[in-house]
């Protein structure tokens, strides 16, 4: 994709070209004029430059030439050169018409002065015509040389005056030659252009690769050189010689070598960024300014044409730059955050840039070659859920515990059952069928335990029912209870979680506690003994009887947590007894953690239902949790880096002590300290393999920063995991002194395989004429966004040439 800066810059080139062409009269702008001798003479009188071909009669090889001449007329016109063909046959002979052997020549005039005659075989195609004509016109501006000596003379003459662009092209009249000539025409005398076709000369100036097969451009920085004995610094254009590349390159050569700023690097914009190149900030401070500047200059010279270099004065700016950072790397893509780096020498800066050549963010999916398509088997299932369900298709699920509802029975069964659960699925949809198996398992487990009625609706059959129930995806699970609003299950599609949800839905939520004794039973887990295994925490809201509003909010919060945690409230006259016992002022929450046998209290001042839900949710978070497949999303939602202790088995007491101590000291507040048990979460092995390529020895402490840059750092294996070492290591990571083990890919998810390209197959078989009638949609943008250049039809050809190179 093109950056907008580049766009603007390209338009400015068009503007230059436009100015050139508007000088000339508008008549017959882009076409090859066919003139009589009379007209031809009158044109010569105008003093304009013109390329004229005198035509005697048209033989076959001449028609090819005329075609090319016609193509060249438009571009040449932009440079104020008219192209004409004079018909000799009808008129009396001119001296150019006369002789047989002159037939194969074209003539370049300025006014009526003949500048040059070209044998038509040198004008073999449109590129050759334009290159040769411009070359002839720029005879004084562009020096053509053949020896190293010639070049040294020019170099010496230009020192302190003008920079030199030395260009090697393989031959005169090539597209590269044309590109050079067109650029030179625009830049004129801003540089000394030198052209050569001798490879020997290149070896003389020390070009690295002597067997050069394509054109090269060397920029000699002679303007800065005041001492005649000194050589001019040299920079090579590393891209192919095209108009755009040359323009870009010259623009970069013109930019100041090194700039100094004090502003925020995020906000800086320079010509480099606009041209899609990165920008390097070398951090400096007053004390080391001179030395830093020298380093920066060295870097700038080495990166000339590849990146911009800027000296950032740290102490005169109050920027938020991490300590130890000495280099900042800013990419040209907008919206990409800058990288703060700690680099120790110039080479590492250079390699950083050279290896970070912007990746073309190709929006369109990969194009596959014909042959390549055949080797890919598009018919092989790569969706794990679909495949597993398909492989299980012959199994008969024991569905007898689950009532199938139909359009006719839906209402009557749901209305006449005190409590029922409905699974909406589609008999052809894999995800919902995979879950149907878990659903059956839950029904089996709850058989005889719960009086809830298990039902299902196959949306493949009863799509009307599903539409009415607002089912827009599969599966959807709803619990209907007499006299209550239906509750939609939003938890994991899994047996245990659904079981818990159903069980906890069995009690009203929040439950009203009426006596102090009951409250105590509730808190010590006696009251809902059979449910405490599903909700390890019971929550009790305590209110004095006049706190109506607070109580309402709590009830609302309890309702929305229904099925996930047990909640209850106590608002009797003697609520103060509880308040005193647990030393809280009312309103308050008591959290009974049954596993630990511990009761925490939280004050509830002025909280609405949403806040209360949030308070309860965060109170349910553990301080050093075991990360599992099921609970990871909760902790990732906190958007902090994870500090994971990988263990092959349960926590050992020592690790726990060290980690818990750190946690309790609040040293790890910016992180989520947690641990992962490979025995219960075997996929952890897959994660370690991704980090380390193979399994490292355990236990292992890893810091995973998913939200910023995706860096993964590992606690050094040769150190013991203790409080001090952990803290030290974390500091080093934060300071950027620890290199990450790996950086997680930020690649987008792409189609795993291509699709059949039916459109191209149709194109290949449907007769061509029919296809030709298809208006082809603009593949990249919609018709509505008009191209600002569109109105200028005369330059569409040049423009498309630019486009091709720029994209």
């Amino acid at each position: 994709m093109m950056s907008s800066g580049l766009n603007i810059w390209m338009y400015s080139i068009f503007f230059v070209l436009l100015c050139v062409c508007y000088k000339s009269p508008a008549r017959n702008r882009d076409t090859l004029m066919e003139l009589s001798l009379q007209e031809y003479f009158s044109i010569l009188q105008t003093g304009k430059t013109s390329l004229v071909y005198f035509s005697q009669d048209v033989s076959a090889d001449i028609t090819v030439f005329l075609e090319e001449l016609k193509k060249a007329a438009g571009p040449l016109h932009n440079y104020g050169i008219s192209v004409a063909k004079v018909n000799c046959a009808e008129e009396e002979a001119s001296k150019y018409c006369g002789k047989e052997n002159d037939l194969t020549k074209a003539y370049l005039f300025r006014g009526n002065i003949l500048l040059r005659e070209f044998p038509t075989d040198t004008l073999f195609d449109v590129n050759a015509i334009i290159a040769n004509v411009l070359f002839a016109l720029l005879f004084n501006e562009i020096k053509y040389i053949t020896s190293l000596e010639d070049f040294e003379n020019i170099e010496n003459a230009m020192k302190g005056k003008t920079n030199i662009a030395l260009i090697y092209v393989r031959a005169i009249g090539t597209p590269e030659h044309r590109a050079v000539m067109e650029t030179a025409f625009v830049y004129g005398t801003a540089y000394q252009f030198v052209l050569t076709t001798e490879t020997a000369l290149l070896e003389g100036i020390g070009a690295e690769n002597s067997d050069i097969i394509s054109g090269r451009l060397f920029f000699f920085h002679c303007k800065l050189v005041l001492d005649l004995a000194q050589k001019c610094q040299k920079t090579v254009l590393e891209q192919p010689l095209t108009i755009l590349n040359i323009h870009r390159f010259l623009k970069l050569m013109d930019a100041p070598l090194l700039t100094e700023i004090t502003e925020d690097p995020e906000k800086v914009s320079t010509v480099h960024l606009q041209l899609g190149l990165p920008l390097i900030f070398i951090l400096s401070q007053q004390a080391t300014y001179e030395a830093d500047k020298k380093t920066a200059e060295i870097v700038a010279w080495r990166l000339l044409g590849k990146a911009g270099v800027t000296l950032l004065l740290k102490d005169s700016s109050d920027l938020n730059i991490p300590a130890h950072t000495n280099v900042i790397f800013k990419r040209a893509e907008e919206g990409v955050p800058v990288d703060f780096l700690v680099l120790h020498d110039v080479n590492s800066i250079i390699s950083r840039v050279e290896n970070n050549i912007p990746i073309q963010n190709n929006e369109l999916a990969k194009d596959y070659e014909e042959g390549e398509m055949e080797t890919l088997n598009l018919g092989i299932q790569d969706d794990q859920v679909v495949e597993t369900v398909y492989r299980d298709r012959k199994r008969n699920l024991p569905l007898e515990l689950i009532v199938e509802l139909t359009e006719e029975t839906f209402n009557s069964i749901i209305m006449n059952t005190s409590s029922s659960i409905i699974l909406f699925y589609a008999n052809w949809e894999a995800v919902s069928l995979a879950f149907l198996q878990s659903y059956v398992d839950v029904a089996i487990k709850l058989k005889g335990v719960s009086n809830i009625l298990f039902t299902r609706v196959n949306c493949g059959d009863w799509s009307n029912v599903c539409t009415k129930q607002n089912v827009t995806e599969y599966p959807v699970i709803k619990i209907f209870k007499e006299g209550e609003k239906p509750v939609i299950y939003t938890g994991m599609l899994e047996t245990e979680y659904l079981l818990k949800f159903i069980r906890l839905n069995g009690i009203s939520c929040p439950v009203k506690i009426v006596t102090i004794e009951e409250a105590e039973e509730y808190l010590n887990g006696e009251l809902y003994k059979e449910l405490t295994s599903y909700s390890s925490v019971s929550i009790l809201g305590i209110f004095s009887s006049n706190m109506t509003k607070e109580k309402e909010n709590f009830i609302e919060a309890g309702n929305s947590l229904k099925g996930y945690v047990i909640t209850g409230f106590y608002d009797e006259e003697d609520a103060l007894i509880l308040s005193k016992k647990y030393a809280v002022t009312l309103p308050a929450l008591l959290l009974a953690r049954h596993k630990e046998g511990k009761i925490d209290s939280i004050l509830l001042p002025n909280s609405d239902a949403k806040d209360i839900v949030q308070i309860i949710k965060s109170a349910l978070l553990e301080i050093f949790p075991e990360i599992t497949v099921e609970n990871l999303p909760i902790y990732l939602g906190l958007k902090k880096p994870l500090l994971i202790l990988f263990r092959d088995g349960n926590l050992n007491y020592k690790d726990e002590i060290e980690m818990l101590h750190l946690v309790k000291q609040k040293h790890l507040e910016t992180l989520i300290p947690c641990w992962l048990n490979l025995k219960t979460t075997p996929v952890g092995r897959g994660i370690l393999k991704a980090y380390f390529k193979h399994l490292p020895p355990l236990p292992l402490l890893v810091l995973v920063d998913l939200h910023l840059r995706g860096q993964v750092s590992a606690f050094p294996l040769d150190q013991t995991i203790n409080e001090k070492n952990i803290l030290l290591w974390l500091h080093r990571v934060e300071a950027g002194l620890e290199s990450p083990i790996t950086t997680l890919s930020d690649e987008e998810w792409k189609p795993p395989l291509p699709a059949y390209n039916f459109l191209s197959r149709m194109d290949a078989t449907v007769p061509y004429t029919e296809i030709a009638q298809f208006p082809t949609q603009n593949m990249l943008r919609c018709a509505r966004t008009t191209d600002p250049q569109q109105h200028d039809k005369g330059h569409s050809e040049d423009k498309s040439a630019f486009r091709k190179e720029a994209t």
Binding site: V704, L759, P775
Partner: protein, 679 residues
């Protein structure tokens, strides 16, 4: 709004005229008025009335007869409908079953399905009359019976919805004022043809239906549509022979896939003709015929030129006959009866010329010319519904028949709900993870797409960054360029169009639809599918009107960015995981440049800790605590298929750890490689 009934008695024809010429006081109408008026209480009129009633709109239906569906009280003359009444499909999905129910109108009332009205596969027309009567009654549709609108004109008014009101006059001279007018009067005027001797011809509309009246007769039938064959079928066993003459070759509906062409149920005469039983078919332009009645009262076929040559008062015997010159002339036998069965035309006569309701061109001249939105080209607010609207898809789809126009009426209603009431086209929003599912559901059950193939299409409008989409059902495909203004929905982020199509070269009167190997089974060749199958087009932006106008012949839409065909299916059941769903998913993925696979929670967990971005399925489900955890059985299948890894089986001891002291070297090499990777 209640009609101004009080003024009704005062009105006379005289005041009606003055009311039209002197523009009425703004806001105060002299006539009873409604927002929506429907002409005709046939199936299309009642369908629209139902939709308007459900939406709570101010509407009325005017019906010339005393009950709905008066066309069906006379036609078809032989009383057998050729629209199938398929009572059993083996499926319970009511939307799917409408694909095979050609007679019911759309309503919420399950009792109003035609299968409850007849057991016959080809039902009796009286059942249709009874059905339509029940439909109007049960749904309490507001119909003014015995009100024949004899004139329709316009009255300009700046305050009217469309800048004018429609002024209707009934047979009693009573006027009515409407903001929007639906013409659902069908095609009711029998086509006649004028040639010398055409006065001797009987019409389909009045010919005897008693076969006994044809005993031992020679019968010539003009025309070769379903009414001609229906007439022939009735008398086949009573006549000496039947000759049937028409201009074009016979069009069999099984070959053309057009339900209006000759249906197999009527084609007995084709059988007897080809099995040499004296009956026969002839191709001649009817304009080249002339009939003279001889002295015995029998009808002889001759040519108009011979009639012109003969003296006006000359006896029939004096007119020369073709067989006088060519003695083997095919129609040289005298006929006892000539019956005209040439179909019907829309009644244009009641519409004032200011409405600009003009006939279509060529074959479509029996229908008024309308836009693909069913609105008149000239008059805003004037819509043609039902059979009369068939110019949109004549000889292509089912828009001229109940099982087609019930859907086009619904489309028109949705357009008007947006235009006049600010209610955008219904478009539920789904997460992108449901894209494949939603399309699969629709192509498997949607009846509007199936019946109105290539005319109505489902449109999927992508949300920004393709995180979700809106789904618009059964939109008139030819109006795609104007989708935003017509529906009130935005199509800025790309769109899919879901249609159903027959193969491009499969249908036609001269096509062999039974050729060997006609069915495509290979997914790779899906685009060559012949039988009706789903096709999905992808565009970056809405096609422009210009692009719509310059479509390639045979294409319902301009060239898309990408196209997908779901391979034709013998059972029209497109739920096969590998043959139907997988290629569709790949197509959608490649259009969106995304990964639309589903994953178990364990895979999402791995992605969440090893990649910075998640596939949409994990992002939408797992990250919202709704991950899918398969049971052990499914997990085993996953591992066997190679799509899931058995992490418990990963060797716990790294290979290189077994030699020497592993800890430090392992760490260091890791360190070095990771640096290299980063640079």
């Amino acid at each position: 709004m209640a009609p101004h009934k009080g003024s009704q008695g005062l009105l006379l024809t005289l005041t009606l005229h003055s009311a039209l010429t002197l523009s009425p006081v703004p806001g105060a109408s002299l006539f009873p008025q409604w927002d929506y008026c429907i002409l005709g209480a046939g199936p299309a009129g009642l369908q629209m009335a139902y939709l308007l009633r459900q939406a709570g709109r101010d509407y009325v239906v005017f019906e010339r007869a005393g009950a709905p569906g008066s066309f069906f009280t006379r036609y078809p003359r032989h009383r057998k409908l050729i629209s199938i009444n398929k009572r059993y499909t083996g499926k319970v999905n009511s939307e799917f079953n409408l694909r095979h129910d050609w007679n019911s109108l759309l309503s919420h009332d399950q009792r109003l399905l035609f299968r409850h009205y007849s057991k016959a596969y080809f039902p009796h027309a009286d059942d249709m009359v009874r059905y339509l009567g029940d439909f109007a009654d049960r749904l309490r549709l507001q119909v003014h019976y015995n009100t024949a609108i004899v004139h329709v004109t316009l009255s300009k008014n700046r305050r009217a919805w469309n800048g004018h009101f429609f002024i209707l006059t009934d047979q009693r001279g009573q006027g009515y004022q409407c903001s929007v007018l639906f013409v659902a009067t069908g095609v009711s005027v029998p086509n006649e043809i004028d040639f010398p001797g055409s006065e001797h011809v009987e019409g389909y509309e009045s010919v005897s239906v008693d076969p006994e009246d044809f005993v031992g007769q020679n019968v010539l039938i003009l025309g070769r549509g379903n009414s001609a064959f229906e007439t022939a079928e009735n008398i086949l066993g009573y006549t000496n022979f039947i000759h049937m003459v028409g201009r074009s070759r016979i069009r069999l509906s099984w070959a053309t896939h057009y339900v209006g062409d000759l249906r197999a149920i009527n084609n007995g005469l084709l059988d007897t003709y080809q099995l040499k039983s004296l009956d026969g078919l002839l191709e001649t332009d009817l304009k080249d015929l002339a009939i003279v009645k001889d002295s015995k009262g029998r009808l002889r076929i001759t040519l108009p030129v011979f009639m012109a040559k003969a003296n006006k008062n000359a006896t029939a015997e004096a007119v020369s006959l073709p067989q006088d010159e060519v003695d083997n002339f095919a129609m040289r036998v005298p006929y006892d009866r000539v019956i005209r069965c040439l179909g019907f035309t829309f009644n244009f006569s009641i519409f004032s010329s200011t409405l600009g309701l003009a006939p279509g061109k060529g074959q479509k001249k029996k229908y008024p010319l309308i836009k693909a939105s069913y609105e008149s080209k000239r008059t805003r607010g004037l819509f043609v519904l039902g059979t009369a609207s068939h110019s949109v898809d004549y000889r292509k789809s089912a828009g001229g028949f109940i099982h087609g126009f019930r859907y086009t009426a619904r489309a028109v209603h949705r357009l008007l709900e947006h235009r006049h009431h600010g209610i955008p086209w219904p478009s539920p929003v789904y997460p992108i993870t449901q894209l494949t599912n939603t399309i699969i559901r629709r192509v498997n059950e949607a009846s509007g797409l199936y019946q109105m193939f290539s005319v109505l299409a489902d449109i999927i409008l992508l949300k920004e960054k393709a995180t979700g989409f809106e789904y618009l059902e059964e939109y008139p495909i030819k109006m795609l360029a104007e989708l935003e203004t017509l529906t009130g929905r935005e199509a800025q982020q790309g769109l899919f169009v879901v249609t159903m199509e027959y193969g491009k070269n499969f249908s036609g009167p001269d096509k062999d639809v039974f050729y060997y190997d006609r069915a495509v089974g290979d997914v790779e060749d899906a685009w060559q599918s012949n039988f009706l199958h789903p096709v999905i087009y992808y565009y970056h932006c809405l096609p422009t009107e210009k692009e719509m106008a310059s479509r390639a012949p045979g294409w319902p839409l301009p060239r898309p960015v990408a196209i997908h065909h779901i391979v034709e299916d013998f059972l029209t059941d497109w739920t096969a995981p590998v043959a139907h769903i997988l290629p569709l998913r790949r197509f959608l993925e490649n259009c969106l440049n995304n990964d639309l696979r589903s994953f178990y929670a364990e895979s999402c967990f791995l992605f969440a800790l090893t990649r910075q971005k998640l596939p949409p399925f994990c992002q939408h489900g797992y990250m919202n605590m709704q991950g899918l955890v398969g049971n052990e059985r499914l997990r085993r299948h996953g591992i066997e298929s190679g799509l899931m890894e058995d992490y418990t089986a990963i060797n716990e001891q790294p290979v290189d750890q077994k030699q020497g002291d592993p800890r430090i070297p392992v760490h260091l090499t890791q360190h070095a490689t990771s640096i290299k990777e980063e640079l």
